[in-house]
């Protein structure tokens, strides 16, 4: 009976009073127990039935995690419907693509923003019913397709849905998941994704005593697996913050035991730790830095098994006086497992989190593999790999270093396209397997740079090294068909701002700050450091500091903040060509009719 609604039902029967969903609204935390969760779903089943959602109906769900949206998923699936998840920030074109290739008929939109985006592309797709969850600003809309969630609910009755839940099969399609990199939609049935989640729960002994905060949209397939499905499988509480601006505070208030996030979120945490300590008093800063290096030394000895008693005492002291409070400030005190997807943390950051007791566990997975193929076990000490394949999954590397996998938890391409050879799927990534069987991911296959010398490498490995500075938000390596590598650097506004304040550097905005000589030197020093660890050919010889950040709406970064090389090279073609032509000044005609000049810095 392993279906999503089935899990709701079984949780209602086994742990009816445990908190299923907790959300902050109007300043206070409200919660639904599993029993209440079930009742909400039951009403919605009636509501969506009235909208003629039935077996096989494809319902697009377009919005951020809010309780209404969460309940809708289970309700639609109880009726046998299929949920196509769409990122709330999706642009018109992405929305059209997903709606059309999924053949969705019903759209559940969060609020005015999503409804507006939909209305712009209304004529291009076959949506016949739209349900909006938050009616604010929509009362004057006259489109007859629009239905208010609240109206629907008020017209519906709470009935027993046990038999309906039992009637759906675990082989029914549950979700349509969009893979941004491949621009494809995968069908995922109830069974594989739930089984995949059970593996994670069993491996890490997750139970209904745990809690997790979900602040990313469920359309990110790894997020769907690690937060939503996992909370259903383990029965743990699923917590939703009040708004995007209050995440940090809400995380602290809840103090979850499980954390899941794509790597960029952890990078963000590191960067805010860094910029906040930068603005501390000198003595505090020095002591912090000293404690930090001391802690890292002790951690190294701990890993190599040479930890002495004095180290233990030292560590206890350092934790007590510096890092336990630091964890408290960021709401990390109770974290038992912190799962990372979509990239890995740099060694320094990985070690730091482990040293302060936040167990970072890298994972690797995509929509087609139901979000996860491999995950690191607890107390892993290597920052490079993403763990060994889970039971039921296998990984092999071909001659071109491309990663192929096999798994018993698999999705299918909606368009019926087949990219497997004898059951082996091309992951689209290059990588290797280390001696203990752990998978190491180097980057996406299509990103591989071939230098003039014929040297091939994955730019992500270099980019990650450079981006591990708290001052750098993202890096794009330019090197295709070149003698040497160049880097486009995007500085992190928060940490560079506070660094500049500390150094008494005056500036009026991001662009001016990015153009400062001091900032250039700061970045230059860092790149020089990184260069020392790189082999000769890969060393970065030139860099440009961009006068803006990369824009998600323009497709420059993915929803999980990974660099989308193709689109960047399109938008910043001036920069790319200038670097390739060895010009030292670039006139950039940027998107949104912006134009400005950039300087290429030689190292």
């Amino acid at each position: 009976m392993a279906t999503i609604p089935g899990l709701v039902l079984s949780n209602k029967q086994t742990i009816p009073n445990a908190v299923a969903l907790r959300y902050k609204q109007l300043g206070i935390w409200n919660s639904y127990s599993w029993e209440e969760y079930y009742n909400e779903v039951a009403i919605l089943v009636d509501a969506y039935k009235n909208l003629s959602v039935s077996k096989g109906t494809i319902v697009a769900v377009y919005g951020n995690n809010i309780p209404k949206l969460i309940f809708s998923i289970a309700a639609v699936q109880t009726l046998g419907g299929i949920v196509a998840l769409i990122h709330p920030e999706s642009t018109e074109s992405e929305l059209t693509t997903i709606l059309n290739s999924s053949k969705a008929e019903v759209l559940i939109a969060e609020d005015q923003q999503q409804v507006d985006t939909f209305l712009k592309v209304e004529s291009e797709c076959n949506i016949n019913t739209v349900v909006y969850l938050d009616g604010r600003g929509l009362s004057s809309y006259e489109n007859t397709k629009l239905n208010s969630y609240d109206d629907l609910v008020s017209k519906s009755v709470n009935s027993n849905i046990d038999s309906q839940i039992q009637s759906i099969s675990d082989n029914d399609i549950a979700f349509y998941l969009f893979d941004e990199h491949e621009n494809k939609i995968y069908k995922v049935s109830h069974d594989p994704i739930i089984r995949n989640s059970s593996k994670i729960c069993d491996l890490n002994k997750l139970s209904n005593k745990d809690s997790i905060v979900s602040y990313l949209p469920l359309s990110i397939s790894t997020n769907l697996l690690f937060t939503y499905i996992t909370s259903l499988v383990s029965g743990m509480s699923f917590n939703l913050p009040e708004s995007n601006q209050t995440i940090e505070k809400d995380l602290q208030e809840i103090g979850p035991t499980i954390l899941y996030a794509p790597s960029f979120v952890f990078k963000h945490i590191i960067s805010s730790i860094s910029y906040r300590i930068e603005s501390a008093s000198e003595s505090n800063y020095q002591r912090y830095m000293w404690h930090y290096s001391k802690l890292m030394q002790i951690y190294d000895r701990e890993v190599s098994g040479n930890k002495s008693l004095i180290d233990t005492i030292w560590k206890a002291w350092i934790m007590l006086t510096t890092f336990a409070p630091a964890k408290n400030v960021f709401g990390l005190t109770k974290i038992k497992h912190a799962f990372v997807s979509d990239g890995v943390l740099s060694k320094v950051n990985f070690n730091f989190f482990h040293a302060i007791g936040v167990e970072i566990q890298h994972s690797f997975g995509q929509a087609v593999s139901c979000g996860c193929i491999s995950v690191q076990p607890d107390h892993s000490v290597s920052s490079e790999n993403v763990g060994a394949p889970m039971s039921g999954a296998e990984v092999k590397i071909n001659d071109n270093s491309e990663v192929y996998f096999k798994t018993d938890c698999l999705g299918e391409d909606v368009d019926g396209g087949e990219n497997s050879e004898d059951g082996w799927f091309n992951s689209g990534y290059v990588g290797s397997i280390d001696e203990s069987g752990n998978l190491i991911i180097n980057g996406r296959t299509e990103d591989i740079i071939t230098m003039k010398s014929g040297k091939k490498f994955s730019p992500e490995s270099v980019e990650n090294l450079i981006s591990c500075s708290p001052f750098i938000k993202s890096t794009v390596i330019v090197g295709d068909n070149q003698d040497s590598n160049s880097a486009i650097i995007v500085i992190d506004p928060n940490s560079v701002n506070s660094w500049a304040d500390r150094k008494n550097i005056r500036y009026t905005g991001y662009a001016e700050l990015a153009g400062k000589d001091e900032v250039r030197n700061l970045i230059m020093d860092h790149i020089k450091c990184v260069n020392e660890t790189l082999e000769a050919e890969l060393k970065v010889k030139k860099f440009v500091i961009l006068h803006r950040t990369l824009i998600m709406n323009a497709g420059e970064v993915s929803k999980t903040m990974e660099v989308m090389r193709k689109n960047i090279s399109k938008n910043l073609s001036d920069v790319f060509s200038a670097i390739e032509n060895n010009e030292s000044n670039i006139k950039v005609n940027d998107i949104d009719q912006l134009s400005y000049e950039l300087k290429v810095n030689d190292i």
Binding site: L26, G27, S139, Q245
Partner: protein
């Protein structure tokens, strides 16, 4: 629609200096009425006369069917007028939440003794009114600064909080004194949305002083133009735009 507010022949002087001379205009129920004019045209004074902060020497203000020579600000509030100020008049020693809570004071019926002992009505009132305040906080999207002292907020947010404080009183008519002054484009867009939404969704009549002609033309139903304390234009935005006096006195000068 009937007129909710009629200003008739109002003249206001300060120590012999005329701030407003013989101004009359009507505001219909449910509309957004913009009062525009160059600096020193008497716009703020006009608002101050309407809600009783200033007492006009001549003229009457008819609000909600009651004609008055003067009204005191408190009675105006009780009658359903709420307003914001040109130079933000938030209570600087309080947090955002407390500031907006003061907007609910007319809904608090418990005595100070009950409040001091924290019993009975005092407790439930705090809860009920907090809920109303939280709805406004959500509406204005200021959840993240709920407990921040207003003195630490940037200007644009302070304006937003002040709007919240006026809105939470559930007024019939909202008087906004330059709600968008000193804001950047994005903040202005947000503020315009809020004002429109308040007007359209909650049906609150709004009288607004504003300098930004773009905003005025976009969101108002009715425009009154003042210049040197006199009314020189009154009508729909397009009528006013084509009025020669207005073009000469105001648009011509400032553009």
């Amino acid at each position: 629609m009937s007129d909710i507010l009629k200003v008739e022949n109002v003249t206001l002087t300060f120590g012999g200096v005329k701030a407003i001379t013989d101004i009359s205009f009507n505001v219909k129920e449910g509309e957004i009425c913009a009062v525009i004019g160059p600096n020193g045209a008497g716009k703020s004074s006009m608002l101050n006369v309407i809600n009783g902060v200033y007492l006009p020497q001549i003229g009457t203000v008819t609000y909600d069917g009651v004609e008055r020579r003067s009204i005191n600000p408190r009675d105006a509030a009780i009658a359903g007028m709420a307003r914001t100020f040109q130079n933000i008049a938030l209570f600087q020693g309080m947090t955002v939440l407390e500031n907006i809570m003061t907007g609910r004071n007319l809904f608090m019926k418990s005595s100070w003794l009950e409040q001091g002992l924290n019993i009975g009505r005092a407790r439930t009132e705090e809860k009920v009114n907090r809920l109303a305040v939280e709805k406004v906080i959500k509406f204005l999207q200021i959840e993240s600064i709920r407990k921040t002292p207003v003195s630490k907020l940037p200007y644009g947010l302070q304006k937003r909080v002040e709007l919240g404080r006026a809105l939470v009183a559930e007024p019939k008519i909202l008087l906004l004194d330059e709600p968008m002054a000193g804001m950047n484009l994005e903040e202005k867009a947000d503020m315009s949305c809020f004002i429109l939404e308040i007007n359209k969704e909650q049906g609150i009549t709004t009288v607004m002083i504003e300098h930004d002609m773009g905003v005025v033309m976009d969101i108002s139903d009715h425009v009154v133009v003042l210049d040197y304390g006199k009314k020189i234009g009154d009508g729909t935005p397009s009528e006013v735009m084509s009025n020669q006096d207005v073009i000469d006195a105001y648009l011509g000068v400032s553009h």
